[in-house]
Amino acid sequence: MIKELHQKLVNGETTSVKLTEEYFDRIKKDDESIGAYLTLTEDLALRQADLIDKKIKQGEKIDLIAGIPGAIKDNICVAGTRTTAASKILDNYIAPYNATVAERLLKEGAVFLGKTNMDEFACGSSTEKSAYRPTKNPLDPERVPGGSSGGSAAAIAADLAVWSLGSDTGGSIRQPAAYTGTVGLKPTYGRVSRYGLLAMASSLDQIGPIVKTVEDAAIVLSRIAGEDSMDATSARSGGKFYEDYLNGNLAGAKIGVPREYVGEELDSEVKMVFEQSLKKFEKAGAEIREVNIPLTPYALAVYYILMTSELSSNLARFDGIKYGLSIDDEQRSADNSGTLLEIYLDSRRYGFGEEIKRRIILGTYALSAGYYDAYYKKAQKVRRMLREDFEKVFNEKDGVDFIFSPTTPEPAFKFGEKSKDPLAMYLADIYTVSANLVGVPAISFPIGMVKREGKDLPLGGQLMGKWFDEENLLNAAYAFEQLE
């Protein structure tokens, strides 16, 4: 999609300003019912679009993403723009600086339409935990778009943006992509700088694209990837243009299917679609093999211990003093002037939503004296063992190139269906958390439809690749996409 639009801009068939205005028109017409956006950045967008149009007029060469309108998840800082992470505690926060990904995209001339809705601080799998409003799945408004990057995925599915950025800590890019029939990529840990991303769990978080096609994912990744002095965990990428690696050739590629992922309990219709997709991969020249990742049943527990621990630490900065909501003595009676401690307690009590508080308390418990060894340290040990499982499957003699599974055990669920039981909601992440725990890149793309209550709903397939092997991972997904 991006390449076609780029051609139209360069040929003069349309202008970036026109294109941007079309998207704003559609957003104003459709987004009230969908709720993909929390904030629109119309002035910023039109300024940027105008700049690109002038460059084109002057015959300057522009980048593929230049002048193309996209959406940014609301936990990524855009300077001078409200950035809330869908939390009341940041209701009035104006980011004073750009996240590295935003800076890089702006430098290439990308146009930002606005900031998208999400589960508060990226904690959730349905966007129902946004402090503002839930986002609806454009394919069936009774169902969730997934989460936490549900706004970004819905914006793509409803054509309210050409490209979007999400963040993925345990599946928050891939699961909403699967639920909305779009493409979502979580890069290798370290591939993309996290500077300016409101941290959820720092050892798991990665920013990545949610888009319509695999090629678009490659194009966006190339613009945001690479080492950054502001994020010591970011890795060198060598300035690759990932879109140049898409040749659709899968001959001789080995794809592993973990026995543990497609067991008896998998829904029969989901299984059928999944098996058809394996045949497709074979048709493209790939060899399918069964592999073992024995520690799979433990991944979710490891994830929830580490994620809540890191979350509790990262969210300690929201204390009602430096920025964000502050419940202080102006809200109290004169004879009940608050102490510093009371400002902390009240600001956090009223600023954070239920799910955030639940997770902060859980993480605080897991890190507290006496329990640290039993939970946090134990989880970091099992995480190493899980990584060793993946190393065996990928790196041992005659190992596989990719691991393939459904992205989720089921298609998009209905609003309210899982909100009563936190553990049931957490199970939606079962196939996706391992990629974050071991750091490998993973992409979700549509593999077929299943029927639920008479409606056709998309299913996502997830390919995981080797560490820092995004070019081959994207090419494998591209090969699959070309067969459709």
Partner: protein, 96 residues
């Protein structure tokens, strides 16, 4: 395993989250069921395994420890988010 009420209260205090009696009861029950789920890891023998550090094996990355000057404009942008400001500083309640 059901968490002790005082323990739940203590954890909420450590997390700096204000709670009332009703909420303590709610967190107690929810946390207990999730902690039970975490017990699954006890099935694994990890005595000989070291906890993992950086997941992609990256080693220390150094840079100069230098302050970045955001200038007066940057200072304004930062302080506009602070709940209380006095003479260009963030105002905090007395600690002692």
């Amino acid at each position: 395993m059901l968490l002790d009420k005082n323990e739940t209260k203590n954890i909420a205090a450590l997390a700096r989250i204000g709670v009332n009696e009703e909420e303590i009861e709610k967190y107690r029950k929810e946390l207990s069921s999730i902690l039970d789920y975490f017990k699954k890891l006890d099935e694994l023998d990890t005595d000989k395994t070291e906890p993992i550090g950086h997941i992609t094996g990256m080693k220390n990355i150094y840079r100069e420890d230098q302050a970045r000057n955001f200038g007066d404009l940057g200072k304004k942008d930062i302080l506009c988010n602070a709940p209380k400001v006095k003479d260009g500083y963030i105002k905090v309640k007395s600690v002692l």
